[in-house]
Symmetry: C2
Subunit: 291 residues, 2 copies
């Protein structure tokens, strides 16, 4: 049994002008499912401690709960309990319980299991969610072709099947890209005592993000944008490439090296180190789902 | 595996003028341990989603965390993970994972398992916590003899050993007295489809509460005061009485009857129904720890 907990608070983790209450509810569940997915485990039960803020209308509450229910259905999770109280600001603390194939080191994906010589891969199109948010903030959400980016922001899917396939393929190391690709790879680098080098040109940018925002902005969102819930994985290049499916690409983007232990960075094609415009999200997060 | 979640929010569940931050931390853990104890299970791991409010100083945070750690040590619980974020108001959502001897109906205490003819018992001295709070609010906390009541308010102990002993004695029904004795017995009455009658004169009032506040107030606190974390149990009178230990009295206070299904009430010695001054706490609580 694996357990993880994550709280979202009004004003800090969502803005009601860019997200519907249903999307907030979806995210509260998906963020926790993603932590379980990143360990290669199967999500089972959610417990929800919901603080109803003074600004939360009954209609908004209905939407919030419906969004949570939709995310639970999409990720095959059952809400098994909870506590509802009143406060000044709305706060959603979700605990998710999951099942690992085995709780020995072999049965879980860990942040600490990257090894020098491993390839580094990422699923899907990192930066899609941040690109979607940028378009919403710029009031460009109704433009043609941007729908996949809006969907990535509003209804991110946790990569449960990928995490489980990785465990079966004897991959040992993963993290979910929730704070930004470089920052999250930095967590692996720290925990594994190695350096992680990403090739800027290898990033699987979303075509819609390049089309709508240009290559530079799409890259910055891929390196520093949070809340994608894609998985970044370290392991043998062949094993990683074989994890790709028709629905979800898995792209090798870099390598684990001995130098610069504890750091993750991106290299431009001319071999210079790329300085990201934004490093990622700092939520004062001390997530430790590896319980 | 049993899981329960409970959130405490500043202003609603505690007041910093009557409780120290360490006591708040203690309570956040003890309230959840109590839910596990009331099921006859053994608490094991806690996950804490902590929202740091703007008024929480670094010193207050240290005290809060130390109080949580003390409660974990006292109840043999390990903090296995968490999430720390910033918000406007401090919010502590704790999820507790426990182990049941068995998750079949026989291995758990349930609110729904009271049967007509059962005796009703309560551990310890219900109302001690509310009496302690009343004394603190009346600025009488330094009076002689009130220390046990203050301790009951500030450092309530969850009744883990009692819950487990009850399961072993084939008792099937319990609840923790967190909202007030009559209200919590009412939950059993509703879930079990029976009536619960309490003898006013049988209540095991704390002698210090009678001495400091008088019989009437001590009774009201026993019937309607929350946060005692004593267990109320339904089962054969003999089995219940044998649960008492040198440290913790278990007193038969009433019976489960067929009439007035879904209600719990107290009878005065003249046979009239006692109208409590206060029914107990309504925290808008939809606790459902029976996951």
């Amino acid at each position: 049994m694996i357990a993880t907990t994550d709280a979202l608070v009004e004003g800090n983790h969502w803005r009601t002008d860019t997200m519907s209450w249903a999307d907030v509810g979806w995210r509260a569940i998906a963020a926790n499912v993603s932590d379980i997915a990143a360990m290669g485990a199967r999500p089972r039960f959610a417990l929800v401690a919901l603080t109803l803020g003074t600004s939360l209308t009954p209609d908004a509450l209905d939407c919030l709960v419906e969004g949570m229910a939709e995310a639970c259905r999409a990720h095959e999770v059952r809400i098994a309990g909870g506590d509802t109280i009143r406060g000044r600001e709305t706060n959603i603390a979700v605990t998710l319980l999951g099942e690992a194939a085995s709780t020995s080191g072999d049965g879980l994906l860990l942040r600490s299991a990257a090894r020098v010589g491993d390839a580094v891969a990422v699923s899907g199109h990192p930066g899609a969610s941040a690109s979607g948010l940028a378009l919403i903030e710029a009031r460009r959400a109704t433009e043609a072709g941007v729908e996949p980016l809006l969907e990535a922001h509003r209804r991110p899917r946790a990569r449960v099947a990928l995490g489980r396939a990785a465990v079966e393929a004897a991959v040992r190391c993963a993290i979910d890209v929730s704070d930004g690709l470089l920052q999250d790879l930095g967590h692996i680098a720290e925990r594994s005592g190695a350096g992680i080098e990403v090739d800027l040109d290898a990033l699987p940018l979303h075509p819609a993000a390049i089309a709508a925002l240009g290559l530079e902005a799409a890259r910055e969102h891929a390196l520093g944008g949070g809340e994608d819930y894609e998985l970044a994985l370290c392991g043998p290049a062949g094993a990683l490439a074989r994890l790709a499916t028709a629905e979800l690409p898995v792209t090798v983007i870099g390598r684990v090296i001995e130098a610069h232990r504890g750091e993750a960075w991106a290299l431009a094609s001319d071999g210079t180190r790329h300085i990201p415009a934004r490093e990622g999200w700092d939520q004062l997060a001390t997530k430790s789902p590896e319980a």
